[in-house]
């Protein structure tokens, strides 16, 4: 596998993600974990591979399962292709925000989910980081479900996202991520949904007049590790990695929230994008909850109830 166990007890783990070098998930994410571990002289070295260098999300998770990549950062909707229940974490208004997300991950229900996932896929979830709240952008404000009427909203073509569109009452149109900008600019699509750093990084703010803070999804990214690679680590090394990943979680969140705030301040001062803050989140959330309670079944329904039940 990728984690080469040397004769002298030293181990190297590869840690990959899909984000650019300057993205918080790299800077304050995998790189932060690597710097911390590599500075500890524990015989463990972490090499980072940001920017989808080792393949796109699907390819990389397959590589984690096969042991060709040791650790990775994955969204739960991508992981749902291998273990469907976990997609619940990405469902619209499942979580009220990062606090609840973290509480859930640390809870017994969260532990159960991680265990079930490990059993189904042979990969261990170490923890979850906050990706930012996902918001709508369009050329008009979106304050309540009715405002979505007549808008072609771009969603990723994965079942969870398309369900999310139905749950909040949006008409989903699937456009490849690379074509969103041109699509928005040319009016092929009317709006899209992403966290603020992504909207700014991909310059969607240049071609959209309004960003409505719907916070319809508490974006999360799960840190997965191949089980065999994990078992190659000594107990101390395992603890060091767990601690590093867990403690990076808080700093990573601050990093993301700081960046969000910077971008929002810039938009407000430049006045190029109108930030709509008075979104009726309750109206959206109630609609979504009614939808999911009606449509989900089996493991997903059980997990959804647990997640909603943990809301404070």
């Amino acid at each position: 596998g990728g984690g080469d166990g040397g004769e002298d007890g030293t181990v190297t783990l590869s840690f990959a993600n899909s984000y650019a070098t300057q993205h918080p998930h790299t800077r304050c994410g995998i790189q932060a974990v690597a710097d911390r571990i590599n500075g500890q002289d524990s015989g463990l070295t972490i090499e980072t591979f940001p920017n989808s260098q080792l393949g796109d999300d699907t390819e990389r998770f397959n590589s984690v399962k096969a042991g060709d990549v040791d650790m990775d950062v994955q969204g739960s909707s991508a992981l749902a292709a291998s273990y469907p229940p976990i997609g619940v974490l990405d469902m619209a208004y499942a979580f009220d925000g990062p606090d609840q997300l973290f509480e859930f991950l640390d809870s017994d229900d969260g532990q159960q989910l991680k265990d079930d996932f490990a059993e189904a896929t042979g990969s261990r979830i170490l923890d979850g980081w906050f990706f930012g709240m996902r918001h709508f952008s369009a050329n008009r404000p979106i304050r309540e479900p009715a405002d979505l009427e007549g808008l072609r909203m771009r969603y990723a073509d994965s079942p969870i996202y398309l369900e999310n569109a139905k749950a909040v009452g949006a008409k989903a149109t699937t456009v490849a991520f690379e074509e969103i900008y041109v699509g928005l600019q040319q009016g092929i699509i009317d709006g899209q949904e992403n966290p603020i750093p992504t909207i700014a990084e991909k310059s969607f703010d240049e071609v959209q007049s309004h960003v409505s803070l719907s916070g319809h999804q508490t974006g999360s990214q799960l840190i997965v590790v191949n089980e065999e690679s994990w078992q190659r680590l000594s107990a101390e090394q395992q603890e060091a990695v767990e601690t590093a990943v867990h403690e990076t979680r808080a700093k990573n969140r601050t990093c993301i929230e700081n960046q969000e705030q910077e971008i929002l301040d810039q938009w407000k001062s430049e006045g190029t994008v109108t930030v709509v803050e008075d979104v009726d989140r309750d109206a959206f959330a109630e609609r979504a909850q009614r939808y999911f309670e009606r449509t989900l079944s089996g493991e997903q329904a059980k997990l959804y109830a647990q997640v909603r039940g943990s809301a404070g």
Binding site: G1, G2, G55, E178, V182, Q186, G187
Partner: protein
């Protein structure tokens, strides 16, 4: 297994006539085995690299070009250009460039242009007193307009690797493509002044009117493709599908494409597509290994230590790509070098669109240079001239082409101006 060994293995296999895709795969599979990667990684990366949405435009633009060739659209453009400027001294030289320019809106590949137009243009020029060497040379050189002007297959492949918008890269390529045409026209002008026995064609309104009518519908194709993208009716990939369908309809209306031709059109397009996508897949595995071995980072460190000047970096890239483009097929160089060079270019502050156009022009110039120059090899049987003679005809035209390349290197706005104006 060291990266040097991997590179040597690939080079040896290439030299020994192993098809490019397999020459890349052989050493990569050896690496994967000896490095203890899982059984399945190679096939997953190979298929994963092809499984890309932007790449879907590749088979569709290939199909568009093949249908356009079948539909005899090049002949119509030739007649039109000749009727328009037949009287001008050296007219057939300009006509040759003009036809490539017109056809470039429907074709994304230099080889399709050279193979399709060479048969028409070279005999016509020789009949009118142009030397065969000159005729072949201008045909070869002007075939480069096709893959630079949108739609462009290399641009589609670059966009998919670089994760830039295909539409924006298309826009960035328009001005450079016109500059290539202008550069070649200047070369024809300079050459024609010294020629005395070129026949010209008298101008005649009736002929022009007839030729214009015959060329109107084909000229709508770029309007549909680019207009459709810019007006917001469809994405570049969808535009490729709409364009192919439109040209197919034209071919049927012109009775140049019949039902029984469809099989051959699909077969040729599918075969050409597979020959390109298999290389893309193979280099996907290679890119995985190079990334795993941190090669891009090492190259970046070396480059950044060597110079901090953007222009010096781009000049180095020019030399590297022309050399690679001369010995390797364009797609292969594109898919191998872009993942390594683009991150470095971004560190040097180069716009990814600018870098894309520059890379494509470089690689296309490589199509005209020995030892491999694919356009030379395509034109040689078409014109029944030995390859070295084809090159002797082509060589003078490298001067204007390289001049445009240098202009593009020093003046990024040649590429970035149009996307900015269009807000792409």
């Amino acid at each position: 297994m060291s990266m040097l060994l991997l590179a040597t293995g690939i080079a040896v296999l290439l030299a020994l006539r192993v098809p490019v895709a397999f020459a890349l795969l052989g050493p990569c599979l050896t690496y994967v085995t000896f490095n203890g990667q899982s059984v399945g990684l190679s096939t997953r990366e190979l298929t994963g690299a092809i499984d890309s949405f932007p790449l879907l435009a590749v088979p569709l633009f290939i199909l568009l070009g093949v249908i356009a060739n079948h539909a005899g659209i090049a002949d119509r453009m030739f007649d039109f250009a000749l009727a328009l400027i037949g009287r001008v001294k050296g007219s057939l030289g300009y006509v040759n460039i003009g036809v490539s320019l017109g056809f470039s809106w429907m074709s994304g590949s230099a080889l399709a242009d050279a193979a399709g137009l060479g048969k028409v243009e070279v005999p016509a020029m020789v009949r009118k007193g142009y030397s065969k060497r000159f005729s072949v040379g201008i045909t070869a050189a002007s075939s480069l307009i096709g893959p630079v002007m949108p739609p462009s297959i290399p641009a589609v492949i670059y966009s998919s690797i670089a994760a830039v918008s295909t539409g924006a890269l298309f826009a960035a390529s328009v001005l450079p493509a016109f500059l290539l045409a202008a550069g070649l026209a200047i070369a024809v002008f300079v050459w024609a002044r010294r020629q005395h026995d070129l026949q010209s064609q008298p101008f005649d309104w009736a002929t022009l009117r007839r030729a214009t009518v015959r060329v109107l519908a084909p000229l709508l194709c770029p309007v549909i493709i680019l207009g459709g993208i810019l007006a917001g009716f469809f994405t570049p990939t969808e535009a490729a599908a709409v364009g192919a369908t439109y040209v197919l309809a034209l071919g049927v209306c012109y009775r140049a494409v019949r039902l029984r031709d469809l099989g051959g059109i699909l077969r040729d397009s599918a075969a050409t597509t597979a020959s390109i996508t298999l290389i893309i897949g193979a280099s996907g595995l290679l890119a995985w290994i190079l990334a795993r071995e941190q090669v891009p980072a090492a190259v970046a460190d070396w480059m950044l230590g060597f110079t901090d000047s953007q222009v010096v970096f781009l000049l180095m890239v020019n030399v590297l790509l022309i050399v690679l483009g001369a010995v390797l097929e364009g797609t292969s160089v594109l898919v191998i070098t872009v993942p390594i060079l683009l991150p470095i270019a971004v560190e040097f502050g180069v716009d990814p669109l600018h870098f894309g156009v520059l890379t494509i022009v470089n690689l296309m110039i490589g199509l005209l240079t020995p030892p491999i120059g694919a356009v030379l090899y395509v034109l040689s049987p078409v014109t029944k001239m030995p390859v070295h003679e084809v090159f002797r005809g082509t060589a003078p035209f490298l001067v204007p082409l390289v001049a445009v390349l240098l202009l593009l290197t020093f003046v990024p706005s040649v590429a970035t101006f149009l996307p900015q104006v269009l807000g792409l």
